[in-house]
């Protein structure tokens, strides 16, 4: 991202600052905020029964005639060049159909990196894929074997012999900090934000904290391994993928293999967990190329080891957070700077400082991120990239400052609660973090916390409570398209190439469409998971639900116009315009005079139509630029720390969320809790063991990379303000990622309250507490 982009975004924001709000999307609150029936109801996932019965087909389960199986070989060196490649034994092994290396892989270009300017750009790496003998990171794919069975492919892959000429690689984070670069922007935000003179303010503040926080690398561990089943049919390509970006992947694969967009079809009706890791990586490209060479369908399902080696995770960070406060605890300086990894061929900037800009009011700010360049698999987006670990540093610092001043940490936050965006001065669309804290504190029993660390005991256990804020920005993606077909029998089908990674995409959009179209939920079908459908945006940035909802809103407006036209002059609603009517009870009714109404059945019958179909795209998401739109949360934790062993056991966790309208309490609670469990892993157990001597990940298994076990997860309580955001479709903001944010800080703050020890490097393992 460039200075040019900064200039463009800044000038758009400036212009929008002058434009009256009512001219923009969200200028008039979505009427469904006040008038909802299915939305907000507890509803089970529509795909639940299929999944429980094992009938849901995932990408690596799709059956095909003459299917063959691929296995990958990864580089065991970090930087270098292949000098000898002996595939003879592999080629001679039983069942082998093809051994593909840089020698015979079809010549293709490179993927365009994920960007916000080109929606078909979805690459996580811009490195060539098996095109040359060069190796750029440890674990890069250097060969693929295709065989009649998976076992034969795996065995043959182990017979390939490779020698490398090894170059000196950049693998040490601390050593590379000297050469770190300072990018002009982070995603669409300006990177370096300097308001006032923060260092000077810090120097003269009566209260201040100034510390370094470290977070380790993390790897993606979705239950479903990355997998793809690929078939060339004539000149067309069918890809059954496990992906969060169906339509963009189809476009990118078409570009890469010189096909027209309509020649590539990506299907992904179910994904067994995404979290940012299920994007377009080398394996889909390798499978497509291999299928072309063998002229048969190919299945490539990664091993868990392969996922670690070739799918990026969360970058490690080193963050400095310094806060200065006056005698009343009002912030005079807020400094958040640091380092994370972003190789030049990667796409994810790990935006750990973005959330900090909107959390607190301060007289001065100094915020900047620096990118460290290492020879590693490019890191990628992982549930709340940035905020998950940025909130750890900032929210621990807040707790430290509160302790230093001697006031309650919730009170300190309340005193610094902003009423407008602290940097841009844009108005918040809606923000009730203070209420989320008040509600959460009451339910949690925060008043029982003793401010003095180490004051509560139970046998060998010290007991502590902690809290922290979480935050995540609202996003609505441009380029969301849907098609609505309304039939004379009063049923409707909504179609969009949206993604379902387990969160209940179809369920919630059926609830939405039912209310939007004035139909019962049983009458709605939501078609998704297929690039042949109208293109939806990727499922990322917790944006899919409102992005698709915005497109359904636009399509419904179009449908209303079409129905009014079809109703003609003999209808009770004749003469009414789109703005005068609403869709309700299976028909159109006047807003001011509801007695003027006609059912869809009647309109379509008179027009001699079985159905009416409209397509539309969501409006440009300008509300994001005019308003400061953020979700926030208050996380509370109670835990025990063993005086003997330093072991931490979390007893209670509560999340109080302010995320706009909650569309479905059941699926929402599940999202929040899942995020909070991932936050526990971030706090206590998860760490990628990257050996800086070799550049190799050493714990590439679920046995050695510790995600929380069942016994590590306590009862989790979630609640929400439910206050609608007047600027977003349905009043909703995304909820997929915010659950993880704030949790690590709440845990670390509780550990301090229990023991008096500040742990500023994650994970909080027992050796740090002995």
């Amino acid at each position: 991202m460039s200075r040019m982009q900064n200039a463009v975004v800044e000038s758009v924001k400036t212009v929008l600052g002058w434009v009256p709000a009512q001219w923009l999307p969200g200028g008039t609150p979505d009427p469904l905020i006040l008038r909802r029936a299915a939305i907000g109801r507890q509803a089970s996932r529509l795909d639940g029964p299929e999944k429980v019965r094992g009938q849901a087909r995932f990408a690596a389960e799709v059956a095909m005639d003459r299917l063959c199986y691929a296995s990958l070989v990864h580089s065991t060196v970090t930087l270098g060049r292949i000098t000898r490649l002996d595939t003879a034994n592999a080629e001679a092994a039983p069942g082998v159909i093809l051994v593909m290396t840089h020698r015979n892989m079809p010549r293709i270009g490179t993927l365009a990196l994920i960007g916000l300017t080109d929606l078909s750009a979805v690459g996580n790496s811009s490195l060539p894929i098996m095109q040359e003998p060069a190796v750029r990171y440890n674990g890069q794919v250097v060969a693929a074997v295709v065989a009649e069975t998976q076992e034969e492919a795996d065995h043959a892959a182990s017979l390939i012999e490779i020698d490398y000429a090894v170059d000196t690689a950049k693998t040490r984070f601390d050593d590379a900090k000297d050469k770190a670069r300072t990018p002009a922007s982070i995603l669409i935000e300006k990177n370096h934000v300097s308001v006032g003179n923060a260092e000077r303010e810090l120097g003269r503040a009566p209260h201040r904290v100034d510390n370094i926080y470290r977070t380790p690398g993390h790897n993606h561990n979705a239950i479903e391994l990355h997998g793809v089943t690929v078939a060339w049919q004539g000149g067309s390509l069918v890809v059954h993928d496990a992906t969060q970006m169906i339509a963009p992947s189809a476009n990118a694969l078409a570009k890469l293999f010189g096909l027209k967009k309509e020649q590539v079809r990506v299907l992904s009706p179910f994904v067994g967990g995404g979290f940012g890791g299920k994007g377009l990586w080398d394996h889909q490209v390798v499978a497509v190329a291999a299928a072309r060479l063998v002229d048969r369908p190919v299945r490539l399902m990664l091993s868990r080891d392969s996922v670690y080696r070739m799918i990026g995770g969360r970058s490690p960070t080193e963050q400095r957070v310094a806060i200065g406060a006056d005698a009343d605890g009002q912030f005079t300086a807020l400094v958040h700077t640091g380092y994370s990894i972003m190789p030049p061929y990667g796409a994810c900037p790990e935006q750990y400082t973005l959330g900090t800009r909107a959390l607190y009011r301060s007289k001065s700010f100094e915020i900047v991120q620096r990118h460290v360049d290492l020879d590693v698999v490019p890191n990628t987006f992982m549930r709340a990239p940035g905020e998950a670990i940025g909130t750890f540093a900032v929210e621990c610092a807040i707790d430290e400052l509160a302790h230093a001043i001697g006031i309650d940490p919730i009170e300190l936050r309340r005193r610094n609660e902003p009423d407008r965006h602290p940097i841009s001065d844009a108005p918040f669309s809606q923000r009730a973090l203070t209420q989320a804290y008040a509600d959460g504190a009451k339910r949690f029993g925060w008043e029982r916390r003793l401010a003095e660390p180490g004051a509560r005991h139970d046998g060998e256990w010290r007991i502590g409570m902690g809290c922290a804020s979480g935050s995540f920005p609202y996003a609505r993606m441009p380029g969301a398209n849907v098609r609505i077909t309304l039939r004379r029998d009063g049923s409707a089908t909504v179609s969009c190439s949206a993604q379902e990674m387990g969160m209940g995409t179809a369920t919630v959009q059926v609830q939405h469409a039912a209310d939007r179209l004035g139909l019962p939920v049983e009458a709605i079908t939501f078609e998704m998971g297929d690039s042949a459908l109208p293109a939806g945006p990727m499922a990322g940035g917790s944006s899919q639900t409102v992005s698709v909802a915005g497109a359904i809103m636009a399509a419904t407006e179009k449908l209303t116009g079409e129905l009014l036209r079809l109703a003609g002059n003999d209808s009770p609603i004749a003469g009414l315009r789109a703005g005068d009517v609403r869709l309700v009870d299976g028909g159109i009714a006047g807003i001011n005079d509801p007695s003027r109404r006609e059912s869809y059945r009647s309109i379509l019958a008179r027009a001699a139509r079985d159905e009416v179909t409209v397509s539309a795209a969501g409006s440009a998401p300008l509300e994001m630029l005019k308003f400061a739109m953020h979700s926030s949360s208050a996380i509370f934790c109670e835990l025990r720390v063993s005086k003997v062993t330093g072991e931490v056991r979390v007893d209670r966790l509560l999340g109080s969320f302010d995320c706009g309208t909650i569309l479905n309490p059941k699926t929402a609670a599940s999202q929040f809790k899942g995020g909070m469990i991932m936050g526990l892993g971030l706090a206590l157990t998860e760490e990628t063991l990257f050996d800086e001597r070799s550049g190799r990940i050493m714990n590439a298994t679920l046995a050695d990379y510790h995600i929380p076990s069942h016994l590590d997860v306590p009862e989790i309580d979630v609640m929400w303000t439910g206050i609608a955001d007047p600027r977003s479709p349905l009043g909703a903001r995304g909820i997929g990622e915010i659950g993880i944010t704030g949790v690590a800080a709440a845990v670390a703050n509780a550990v301090f309250n229990a023991t008096g020890k500040r742990i500023r490097d994650l994970p909080v393992t027992l050796d740090k507490l002995l």
Partner: protein, 327 residues
């Protein structure tokens, strides 16, 4: 994974005969061996399934127990005699792995399981003297949180991963072995070898031999338990674990057995500490002093130096609990 032949033995003699010669390996539940085959660490040409051999748990004439080598870990942990008379053994087994793995894993296989050192398991990317003798050890300067602080050698610092074996060590179990040259019994404390210059030689088992049963002497402790300290609440290997049994009479320690897991290349029987404590007072000062002596020769690394203190604290807490002096 390499092509491999599979046979099932129906008797001890047949198992010995099937495994003799070649690169045949005995297969129990496969919970470790099959993983290692997938990783390419183990490359046997043939497998001899011995899960059909005795899995009986029977009382011996001297009042102890005899556990067939094919007994599943979960069956041992659930056995009434073991739960009531050897609680440390039941608890040690339940502290290990997951319920699913314990249902598959056999007692013989548990004794023979191999280290989980990350570098031992990474055939493609790391040097390891235990896996490839003479190639070097990447663990020493790498991630060694789970590695030994005592009993290691410059060639290898890996730990033995078993929980069950730690309890067996404290209980003075004996391993009954059969082979082409006849049957013999090996005390568990001698069964696993220290690495020295040959970390690849892990046990006293000779080629052509197989474990038939584990013999546990009659209970000698009034109270016993197992405590495991690890990086998550379940399904993680021990950083430090303690199996301890204690009989205290009139404030004096009459009988004591202590073994550690997670700190050494084998289940570490703390003979020195036991000798120091036997006959003396059951006080936390005595416990701490005895263990300081036991670990005087410890050679910790930057990644695992905390284990010395952790071992001391854990042992002291366990013995204090067993001696009842905290009540």
């Amino acid at each position: 994974m390499n092509p491999v032949s599979y046979q099932r033995a129906s008797s001890i003699d047949q198992a010995i005969q099937m495994a003799a010669g070649g690169r045949g390996r005995l297969l129990g539940g496969g919970t470790n061996l099959v993983d290692l085959m997938r990783k390419g660490v183990e490359r046997p040409s043939s497998l001899v399934d011995v899960t059909t051999l005795s899995d009986a748990i029977e009382e011996t004439s001297e009042g102890g127990l005899l556990i067939g080598a094919a007994a599943r870990n979960s069956a041992v942990a659930a056995h009434l005699q073991i739960r009531s008379r050897y609680p440390m053994l039941a608890r040690s087994i339940l502290a290990g792995a997951s319920a699913q793995i314990r249902n598959m894993a056999t007692v013989g296989g548990n004794l023979m399981q191999r280290t989980r050192c990350l570098y031992f398991q990474d055939v493609a990317g790391a040097r390891c003297n235990r896996r490839a003798p003479g190639s070097g050890c990447d663990a020493a300067g790498g991630f060694n949180r789970y590695h030994a602080i005592i009993g290691a050698s410059p060639a290898c610092i890996a730990t033995h991963p078993s929980d069950m074996c730690v309890a067996l060590a404290a209980l003075d179990a004996r391993i009954q072995v059969a082979g082409t040259r006849g049957a013999r019994t090996i005390p568990i404390v001698d069964f696993h070898r220290l690495p020295g210059e040959r970390p690849d030689l892990e046990t006293e088992i000779e080629p052509g031999e197989l474990i038939v049963a584990v013999e546990i002497p009659p209970p000698r402790f009034a109270r016993s338990t197992y405590r495991k300290v690890r990086d998550r609440a379940s399904y993680a290997f021990a950083l430090v674990s303690v199996a301890a049994g204690l009989t205290v009479r009139a404030g004096r320690i009459e009988e004591i057995g202590i073994a550690f897991g997670g700190v050494a290349p084998k289940p570490w029987r703390a003979f020195k500490a036991e000798t120091a404590l036997r006959g003396g007072p059951a006080t936390s000062q005595a416990f701490e002093a005895a263990l300081a002596d036991e670990l005087a020769d410890a050679t910790p690394l930057p990644g695992n130096a905390f284990k010395i203190e952790l071992a001391q604290r854990t042992l002291s807490a366990v013995l204090t609990e067993l001696s009842g002096s905290d009540r």
